[in-house]
Amino acid sequence: MSDLATFIQLGFRHIVDISAMDHILFLLALAAIYRFQDWRQTLWVVTAFTVGHSITLALAVTGVLTISPALVEFLIPLTIMITAIENIVVKDRGGAIWNGRYRPVFAGVFGLVHGAGFASYLKSLFVDSVALPLFGFNVGIELGQIVVLIAAFTVLFCIDRAITWVKLPARAPTALRVRVIAVSSLVAVVAAHWAIERAPW
């Protein structure tokens, strides 16, 4: 196997793993407001997230940026919580700023935080040749995220079916809105719990 393929696999496995729960929950929070037909928008958002964490990862690994790992581990669940709360608070995305098209920017900024989480590991291990591992690792992460997103959409689809099966009254919130509130509140509570656990003070 080539070195590039090895590092792609390393990034992929790092995300498609049950211990990557914080990353998976963040993706679920990002995807929670979309339906399957919105897959292009979702892909944009997730790619912006990858670009964000690639930037921080590169800066941290090359020594340009130094961030306390304890602070990063605390900030990661905060970004998940904020994303989930934003899902609940913004009811009308068309009426929101930039017609609600700020999500990629939002995901990119939060990606900056998540990237710092990987940095200390890669920086230590690949001290002599970091470019290829970094590139391969990021490609693997992006591919892994796509797989996680497909799984997330499958779960969201099942939730939608369950809500439809319950038959909401005519004037009740839409099935999509109920799903957004249910999934996002669940994610927000779990992330809040992690944030408290990891608080650096």
Partner: protein, 172 residues
């Protein structure tokens, strides 16, 4: 009607918060570290010698060694060379075509911040194509452990990954 709608929404939120509380109580998530080691393997065709330079996080390595020896992990994560060698000998090994282990020799260690560099050598008269490697370092500690092995033989570079439970893999 509005009251009914509100009640349903509150019920949905309540149910999800309840589920989340149970979920978060059942499993607290640690940070998401990258559990990996990196081995750079070189082969000297003239002497038939394989040399492995192993990079491992000192804290993880000390924890694995301590676990194997049923002792507490030292506060400074320091591991004596003899203890480190015994651990590496049990988890990282070359095997020949008949499945016998190729004896492993220790060629030192050094520490740089949180990273530990270990050096091992093995010599076999058999052709390199018949030699296989098993790398299960730290796998008993982490289910998501991934060990990377990069091999350089002359001008040829190749890589392989070992995860928990993987058997012997050909070096070439």
């Amino acid at each position: 009607m509005v009251a009914r709608r509100g009640a349903r929404a509150i019920r949905a939120i309540g149910l999800s918060v309840w589920c989340a509380t149970i979920l978060s109580g059942a499993r607290s998530a640690p940070a998401h570290p990258l559990h990996t080691t990196l081995v750079q393997l070189t082969y000297d065709a003239r002497t038939h010698q394989l040399e492995g330079s192993i990079r491992v996080f000192a804290g993880d390595f000390a924890a694995a060694v301590a676990r194997r020896n049923h002792v507490a992990t030292p506060i400074d994560d320091r591991v004596a060379d003899s203890t480190a060698y015994a651990y590496v000998n049990g988890t990282f090994r070359f095997v020949d075509a008949s499945g016998h282990p190729v004896p492993l020799a220790w060629c030192g260690s050094r520490r740089a911040n949180d990273l530990l560099w270990l050096c091992v050598r093995a010599t076999s008269a058999e052709p390199l194509a018949s030699i296989k490697l098993v790398d299960q370092m730290l796998s008993e500690l982490f289910d998501d452990q991934i060990n990377i092995v990069q091999t350089v033989v002359g001008e040829k570079h190749s890589s392989m990954l070992f995860t928990k439970g993987d058997g012997a893999k050909s070096i070439l």
